[in-house]
């Protein structure tokens, strides 16, 4: 069953149209990736789903419920969490407080504690540094924190925006292993990634965006073999 169905959304920044009729679907338990050049509208799509932007036309359904009438903070309550581009951790809050904020939408103390354990088991480094101010973490640790914080919302759908950006190659692999692990725990993931090679290696399916439109959609395996994708996004001549 599709957890997320996006139908023909058009999003504008003022007068500039960023999305020109995007339609996509994400099935429960999948990892779906959006790839495309900078400015193609990948981030805009995620921001539209999470409610930070509002589509001028089109609908977004999460398990049959129309999301476009909700604002960003309400959408979190519906079970969608997002790790924004650049990670967006609260640098002046401690690691623990950052994670608390991730669970802001929830009141079930017991389950939160369990989720916290899960996050710490995924990222043992965070447990060591839970009292530390988040701004002093290294880049890789910040990415862990951002991901862990999003997991604290116990989302059914996790939106990841450029998780590997600015990370050392050695950490990139780790990151995608974690993404796979999160998915194995049952969380559906919509992944926007610059590093198409890695993204397609973990994803089940992928969509290719160009200037606000979807030009290609297929399973990850097929996309990897696609000539255009190889040339433009995988760097294979």
């Amino acid at each position: 069953m599709s957890i997320l169905v996006i139908d023909n959304i058009h999003t504008y920044y003022g007068k500039i149209q960023a999305l020109k009729g995007i339609s996509l679907e994400v099935e429960e338990g999948e990892i779906v990736t959006l790839i495309g050049a900078n400015g193609a509208g990948k981030t805009t799509t995620l921001r539209t789903i999470s409610g930070l932007l509002h589509p001028r036309f089109g609908t977004i359904f999460l398990e049959g419920e129309d999301l476009s009438k909700y604002t960003a903070h309400e959408i979190v309550f519906k079970g969608v969490a997002m790790v924004p581009e650049g990670r967006g951790i609260f640098t002046r809050l401690s690691v623990q407080e950052n994670l608390d904020m991730g669970a802001y939408s929830r009141n079930d103390k017991a389950v939160i504690a369990k989720d916290l354990e899960l996050v710490f088991s995924l990222f043992p480094r965070l447990k060591e540094r839970r009292k530390q101010v988040a701004g002093t973490l290294s880049g890789g640790e910040q990415q862990m924190l951002a991901t862990g914080r999003a997991l604290m919302a116990h989302p059914r759908l996790l939106l990841l925006d450029e998780p590997s950006m600015g990370l050392a190659p050695v950490l990139v692999e780790n990151t995608f292993e974690t993404i796979q692990a999160i998915n194995d725990e049952g969380t559906t993931i919509l992944l926007v990634e610059q590093n198409a090679t890695m993204a397609l290696s973990v994803a089940d399916r992928g969509y290719v965006l160009q200037t606000g439109e979807i030009v290609l959609s297929d399973t990850a395996e097929n996309l990897k073999q696609n000539e255009m994708v190889q040339k433009a996004y995988l760097g294979i001549d």
Binding site: A81, P84, L93
Partner: protein, 358 residues
Amino acid sequence: MLKGFLDRYLERFSWVSFFLRLFQIAAIIIIVVGVYNTLTTAKYTNAQWVTLVFAGLAQGSIYALIALGYTLVYGILLMINFAHGEVYMAGAFTAVFLANYQAESGFLARSPWLAILSWLALAVVVSTVIAILLERIAYRPLRNAPRLVPLITAIGASFVLQYTFRGFYGTVFRSYPTVPALQGTVNVFGAQVPLVQLVVLIAAIILMVILYFFVDRTKRGKAMRSVSEDHDVSRLMGINIDRIIVTTFALGGALAGAAGIFNGLFRPQGVFFFMGFFPGLKAFTAAVLGGIGNVRGAFIGGLLLGVIESLFPNLILEGLGIPAVNQLRDAFGFTMLVLILIFRPQGIFGERLAEKKA
């Protein structure tokens, strides 16, 4: 070798640093000379100095409570809520009628603490409501406008509030009744300090501690801190930032309302529609002094400013042979601000906002 060294030095020579350094040295010399002269003439007794310090602390705690409102709002919206002084006025000006009514009817004499609490409640409610309305009408629609636009609406709101209350309550200067229970003095370091000043100081500190715990420990408080870092990411956490912003304004309003009552206890006269303007400016100064956006800084800045104003003109300027020093008090307060900011461009407790990010 020497020439090379000299060249290198001259190339890096900055007139700005040179003059600022000169300025700092001059300021320190002036202060030291002034203090020395004043103290050696022994014009004032120690008791008089202590009196001035406590009067300054009481005054400072009122600045501090108002400054907290500035700083909270600044932390979250990065805007100067110029009308905050008027929020303070609104509460104080409204509660004065209740206070006088209770004084007339004898209620104040019968149960003074209950009476004061009721004034406090009224002032806090009025100030809070005004602060919330202010946010709703004058600031929220402009949240994404260029930075100076809300500053102008804030100035406009400041005028509107002043003259609204002038229209409502008239132009007559009102006074709070004196509370017999708060009369009398306490012996501190050999000086007779009025009880009411201590009460005001302690009450302000208690409020400050409560606020600190609220911001530091509670879920709402943490959400406030999150919002102050990043609006969008906070929304992604499920935080309703509108509600957090309203909470912030309400908190600032409530503290300003309390400040109004403390002011009425400590210095009953001069309750009128313009009473908020200068304390507002001073509190804003105090907030900057402490490092705007920083809760602790605002409080310390407020107390410091109160003491500077109360003590320093007599202590420093008089020793320099300047006539009518108290006239220069505000100028002196601002000069101290400039001095402190030259030493520490981010204020006393401020984060290094001014540090270059490249």
